[in-house]
Each structure stands twice: as structure tokens, then as C-alpha cells.
Symmetry: C2
DNA sequence: CACGCTGTCTACCACTTGGTAGAGGTGCAG
DNA sequence: CTGCACCTCTACCAAGTGGTAGACAGCGTG
């Protein structure tokens, strides 16, 4: 029933996610976050004991989304081309649904590389290994190019997706400044899929 | 003769580049930059009238490098595979020579998308159009895949290169945490080249 | 020598930052 | 009603921020 009544803590977390993503952690003051929620700074600090605690919560929230999304589609899909489509679609959908996710991730990666190392190992690596195994299978049945470096390939596709979706402006400016942004993005994502596909499968 | 005697202004710019790249603009104080150079804050502000002026100088410096590098190799290279190799090699070399360039660029793109729009249009787009024309030629002589979206393809390769080289940690952690970083990077860049090549040329 | 230019400093300013203290207020359980 | 847990506030703090004022030192030129 309380689907539309969100707690203060949740509202704070959402506002912080948005602001951290767009202005960076250091570029965002607790004041600004509190104002966005419509509360004062001490109230915010009642819910999260420090700015760093808030950062941790925001990040954990993101990874929770990721962890809840990925496994269900790994088991749902069959194999070969269909599986490839499902995975890339979901990857793109995840970051496109809320581009702040891509921005936030990119920022954390750059701001705290050492800290993010374990996060990546925990949240990305297991999934990477599973999908890499799919690819190896595909190689054996001759469906996939022999010279693909499975893990490396996957990481490139993920990196490219995140980087692309966290920088809509770059894309739009470089590609076709005068055209409607959404159409340009659509076109650019189509090329991303093509690039991923054609460099993986045998013709 | 004064090749090793660098002026204060230059030293400041270099230090600022390094710190802005690694800790972000908002995460870096003038104090910290001055300390790195071995001067005080007012001295720094004597050479650059404001923090924003320093940011502008740092960015201009980066683009100057870029502009001086690109054209000479565009004319130096012949065509086809050789040209492709030369271009991707140079792209990778440019950002690998100093990974702070990739970091800084990525950060500015995220921090000030609106401002960076024109920078991208001025510095990247012309170059993109020229190379896209090469690709179109390659298509006509049947050397390049028909379904390549030239500009979009190029932008993806650039984006991927920057994102990859600005996040060595991500790569290393996700790919092979226990192996020597340099070897992992080498492997990862090899796959990047393969990906770029195979999705462009006909077999 | 005296002048002015360039570069560096110390001392300071107003302002913002993350964070604390402590006083309510509201609503629910005994 | 009393207590109490939860939440929100006003008022405040020490530390750090970007930036300014002004003194002074070196140094080449008249």
C-alpha cells in the first residue's frame, strides 16, 4: 500500500544518487541534497551519520539493483544469438533506464579506484566469468570467432556501454549536433550493438 | 637551452592537470596544487587569476597536444589496413602516454557537458569527418563492411579507448586481479584493437 | 644609483563545508 | 497521563575554501 509513500531515508538516497551522479561527490554539498528533499542538513545527518555513509548507501543501492537484475536473465535465456541479444539488451536497458547509474559508476571508478576494485571483483567478475563460459562453448561449436578474448571482450562491451550512456552530450555533439538527441542516441546504440555482435560471431 | 627550466606557470599547469585528473576539479584545492609545485596559494593566483582560469588553461593545454598530434599522422599515412593501424595506434598511444589525459577528458565531459559540447565540436568533429570519409572510400572498393555507421563507429572506438585507459583499475580487477597489471593491460588493448578491426573490415 | 617589472611571500577576508548539541514535537504503548 | 522512540528543527563550531592586500626581494635598464 505504501508504494508511493517513500521514507525520508529513501528520498535522501535518491536525491543523493542524482546529485552525486551529475555533480560528483565533492561537487555536491549535504546542504544541496537536503534542500532537494525539502529537509535540513541535520535531519539528513540523522538518517545517514556522515557524508561517506551516504555515499556508501548510494553505491550499495546501485549494486543491489544490478545484482537483482542480472541473475534472472542469465537463467532465463537459451543460447547463441538469442542469448547474446538478451544480454546486450539488458545491459543497455539497465543503464539507459537511469543514466545516472552510468555516471555514478564512472565517477566512483575514477574517484576511488582502489576502493572500487573489490566492488568490481564482487559484483562484476562472477557474472563476467559465467558469460565468458558461454562464449567458450560457442567457440567449440564453431559459432564464435576463434580469436576472441572472452573476458576482455565482455569488459569492453560493458565499458563502452557505460561510457556511451554516461556521455550523451559527447555523442550528440560529435555525431550530429543539429539532429534530435533521441534519434542520434538510437543510431549510436545500434552501431554499438553491431560492433559487439560482429566482433563476436563468425559470419 | 631552457628545455629543463620550466616556468612556474608551466609547473602549475602540469601539477593541476595531474591533480584535476586524479581527484577531480572540485576535489582539488588550490592549496594542494601550490604545495605540489612548492609555492604558496597567492603565488599560484598570481599566474592564474582564478581557479576557473586554471581549469581552462589545463584543458586548452590538453587540446593543444591533441591538435598538434592528429593532423600530421592524417597526412602521413597511405590507405586501407595500414592507415587503420596507424590511426588506432596513435589514438591509443596518445592516451596511454599520459593516462591523466583520458581521466581529465572523461571528468570534464561529465562535469560540464554543456561547455564541453563546443570543445568536442571544435576539436573532435572535424577529425571525425575526415576519417569517416576514408571509411566511405573503403566501402566503395569493397574493403569495408557495408553496414558500418562511419561516424558512430569512430566515436565508439574513441570512447572505448578513453574509458579503458582512464580505468586501468577496473580492467585489472575484473580481468585478472592476480596478474601483473601491465601484462593485463597489454592483453586488454590487444582485444580492443581486434574488436575495432574486425567490426570494420570485411573478412 | 634609482626605477620599475616580475615574482614570491605573510596576513587576512568572507563564505561554505561536514558535523554536533540540544530543544522540541508527534504519536504510540503502558 | 506518562514515558519514550522517532524525527525534525535552530543555533553553533572548527576547518578549509577561493580570493585579496600589500610588503618585499631580485634584477635588468636608464
Amino acid at each position: 500500500m505504501d508504494t508511493q509513500r517513500a521514507s525520508s531515508a529513501e528520498l535522501i538516497c535518491e536525491a543523493a544518487t542524482r546529485l552525486f551522479a551529475r555533480q560528483g561527490f565533492d561537487g555536491t554539498s549535504l546542504q544541496a541534497i537536503a534542500a532537494q528533499v525539502g529537509i535540513t542538513k541535520p535531519t539528513l545527518l540523522y538518517h545517514y551519520p556522515s557524508k561517506d555513509a551516504l555515499r556508501a548507501a548510494v553505491l550499495e543501492n546501485l549494486f543491489a539493483h544490478w545484482r537483482s537484475t542480472v541473475p534472472q536473465l542469465l537463467e532465463a535465456v537459451t543460447s547463441g544469438h538469442a542469448r547474446f541479444e538478451a544480454l546486450t539488451n539488458e545491459l543497455i536497458r539497465f543503464f539507459r533506464e537511469d543514466p545516472d547509474r552510468a555516471l555514478l559508476l564512472m565517477r566512483e571508478l575514477m574517484d576511488r579506484p582502489v576502493h572500487m576494485r573489490e566492488q568490481v571483483i564482487d559484483n562484476l567478475r562472477p557474472w563476467l566469468r559465467v558469460v565468458a563460459e558461454y562464449i567458450r562453448t560457442g567457440k567449440r561449436i564453431g559459432q564464435i570467432r576463434e580469436d576472441v578474448d572472452e573476458e576482455s571482450y565482455l569488459l569492453h562491451v560493458v565499458t563502452l556501454t557505460i561510457a556511451t550512456l554516461s556521455n550523451a552530450t559527447l555523442v550528440q555533439a560529435a555525431l550530429a549536433p543539429e539532429q534530435p538527441p533521441q534519434a542520434v542516441e538510437e543510431r549510436h546504440l545500434r552501431e554499438l550493438r553491431r560492433l559487439a555482435k560482429v566482433s563476436l560471431f563468425r559470419d
